[in-house]
């Protein structure tokens, strides 16, 4: 079966006054229909920019400088805006982090969803409301038809995010890019939404790119995981093998900094240092200055080491656990 999404050597740069920010630098991955892909990394690693590149919404002064994004066989890089717009919301949808910021506070839920319905074809007022209500019901909003006339501020944070998810689901997209959609929510609500997203994706065969800096979330949801650092993918593979036995020292560091993996009483092992500026990255492995395993070899670009469906980009990968 051919992949739904094929990203090859994607480069997305921001041409700022201070210089060129290489936010995405040579990212490649593919995604099958119905697959859930976790995209993790520290803040500033380029996860969101990767997501926006997929849906063709990179803000100026940024743009995709090279690479290829094939969606169901169609090349998206260089696609005219009008054609891209017809895909957005219809076949590729996106959900954002903060539902309080994404929904328009002065329009009712019904009005906003109707705009999204009509973005892809004519629909009568009644038909648009009906589709909106049915989709809201699917994401677990009770009494949806009556709630259409409510404003976003009349919903809780979790309910607002369900509205945003329902808006993304309206046209039954084949791919949803979800950019930290649960980060702004309470932990208990996070778990509910996660479970529902998983169910919805599996039911409808929608592929999901789930962006998160929270490895725990990704491990419970995703089939595969991509670990990003400084705009590159440093490790990828099946979610359970990768998180059980990471091969890149950065992934190891991310796991060690999780509260759940630390033994009680032990302090959390934060990765020393911070993410480098993308403006002037020195050659070689960008993680080397923070890496416990770094040596002279790391001054050159690390190779992609592929073994059994897993990829690691490192001169000194950790041994695969026996």
């Amino acid at each position: 079966m051919s992949a739904l999404l094929e990203v090859r050597d994607l480069h997305t740069h921001f041409f700022t006054r201070a210089g060129v920010v290489r936010a995405v630098e040579g990212v490649s991955f593919s995604l099958a229909r119905g697959e859930i892909l976790g995209l993790v990394g520290e803040s500033g690693s380029g996860k969101s920019v990767t997501g926006f590149s997929l849906i063709g919404l990179v803000d100026p002064p940024g743009r995709i400088v090279s690479g290829s994004i094939r969606f169901d066989g169609q090349e998206l890089v260089g696609l005219p805006q009008a054609a891209m717009r017809r895909l957005r919301g219809a076949r590729i949808a996106m959900v954002f982090q903060d539902p309080a910021a994404t929904l328009n506070p002065v329009l009712t839920i019904g009005q906003q969803m109707a705009l999204a319905v009509r973005a892809h074809g004519r629909a009568s007022e009644a038909a648009a409301r009906d589709l909106a209500a049915r989709t809201l019901t699917r994401v677990g909003i009770p009494d949806a038809a009556a709630r259409l006339d409510a404003y976003p501020h009349e919903f809780s944070g979790g309910m607002r995010q369900r509205v945003a998810i329902a808006t993304a689901l309206l046209h039954g997209p084949e791919l949803i890019v979800a950019d930290e959609p649960t980060t702004a929510l309470d932990v208990s609500i996070q778990a509910q939404i996660l479970a529902e997203m998983k169910k919805l994706a599996k039911e409808s065969g929608t592929a999901l790119v789930w962006i998160s800096h929270d490895l725990a979330t990704v491990s419970s949801l995703a089939d595969r995981v991509l670990v990003m650092y400084a705009g590159r993918i440093v490790e990828s593979g099946g979610v359970s093998e990768t998180l059980r036995a990471p091969r890149h020292p950065y992934t190891r560091g991310l796991l060690d900094s999780l509260p759940a993996t630390a033994r009680p009483g032990e302090k959390l092992n934060q990765i020393p240092g911070s993410t480098p500026s993308l403006l002037a990255l020195p050659p070689g492995c960008p993680f080397a200055p923070r890496c416990p395993r770094a040596d002279a070899a790391c001054a050159t670009d690390p190779p992609d080491v592929v073994t059994g469906g897993r990829l690691v980009r490192c001169h000194h990968p950790l041994a695969v656990a026996a």
Binding site: I55, R85, R88, G89, L103, P105, T108, A119, D149, Y151
Partner: protein, 336 residues
């Protein structure tokens, strides 16, 4: 408009309206006192009313006739009592009821002010949104240049230029005066006939330039800000066309400051269209007040200023109420 939670909404709105009405009443009271005290200090109307060679007897009779012999506070109370009874007194100069005098002039100013604010809004808002949407485009820079002009070029100069161009040189439009009016509700309006409109157009354009500049600025600043928000990104992610995003999302989100300025500009134009009314010999209240100041026609001045205060208070009230319509978050339980 909303079927949802109508009773709660209405109660909240009613409380809000009552609270604002009381506030407005206090403002009006304070204004009437200030206006009365202020105007009292200007000149002695008796000198204007009767010739200098009138006898002492005539002089004293006149003073008594107009109540000018009473202490200031008695005059104010009497004035306030008459105001409440709808009696603004008689003009010293024209010797007809002031209310009649002002109301005869008000429609002319009303339609001029409204026309100019509407022109400013209907042209300025779209231009401003466009300039905010495409801040780097050459056309946007041109729009901003127009708005700078609108702010900095004096009204009278533009007025003279308009007359020179469209009335004198091109001879397309009349240079001044009000032209024919149509009587509705017992008062005359220009905007109801094509010919009346030709008289309205130049003064309205003249007055609208500043409002246009203001609307452009506000709409542009608001649009620039909103375009960067996740609301717009999310709408784009849902596949909405750019025009739909501007019309349905952005316009609604920037409407509150626009409505505020619309209201304030409307009110201040009603009160202070003097320059334009003078240049175009437009028979509005602006001309009336200037005439009454030069002739020290105190009742007219007082009535006019009270009327202006009343218009401001009313328009502010309407603007505040429209906030609640425009921003649903304000509808819950009124505001403190």
């Amino acid at each position: 408009m909303r079927p949802l939670s109508m009773p709660r909404y209405c109660v909240a709105m009613l409380g809000f309206i009552i609270q604002r009405l009381l506030q407005s009443l206090l403002v009006m009271l304070a204004m009437s006192a200030l206006v009365f005290a202020g105007v009292y200090a200007i000149g002695n109307p008796i000198d204007v009313l009767i010739s200098p060679d009138a006898t002492q007897q005539i002089r004293e009779d006149a003073i008594r006739h107009y109540g000018l012999d009473l202490p200031l506070w008695r005059q104010y109370l009497a004035f306030l009592g008459r105001l409440l009874a709808g009696d603004f007194g008689r003009s010293f100069v024209f010797d007809i009821p002031v209310l009649e005098l002002v109301l005869a002039r008000l429609p002319a100013t009303l339609e001029l002010a409204l026309a100019s604010v509407l022109i400013g809004a209907f042209i300025g808002i779209p231009l401003g949104i466009y300039a905010g949407y495409r801040p780097e485009a050459a056309s946007s820079r041109a729009i901003m240049a127009v708005s700078v002009l609108g702010f900095s070029v004096p009204t009278f100069w533009v007025g003279l230029l308009l007359i020179l161009t469209f009335a004198v040189n091109l001879d397309w439009l009349p240079a001044g005066d009000r032209g024919p009016v149509v009587e509705v509700f017992g008062v005359g309006w220009s905007f109801l006939t094509a010919e009346g409109l030709t008289f309205l157009i130049l003064p309205a354009l003249n007055l609208s330039l500043f409002k246009l500049a203001m609307m452009i600025r506000l709409a542009r600043a608001g649009t620039r800000e909103i375009m960067l928000t996740d609301t717009v990104k999310f709408a784009r992610a849902a596949g909405l066309a750019e025009f739909t995003i501007l019309r349905r999302h952005v316009l609604r989100l920037i409407s509150i400051p626009l409505v505020t300025v619309f209201g304030l500009e409307f009110a201040s134009t009603l009160a202070f269209a003097v320059v334009t009314e003078t240049i175009f010999s437009w028979p509005g209240v602006g001309k009336l007040i200037i005439d009454s100041i030069t002739s020290l026609d105190r009742p007219v001045m007082v009535a006019y200023l009270v009327l202006v205060a009343f218009l401001f208070v009313t328009i502010n009230l309407v603007v505040d109420l429209s906030y609640a319509l425009l921003d649903p978050r304000l509808r819950r339980g009124g505001r403190a």
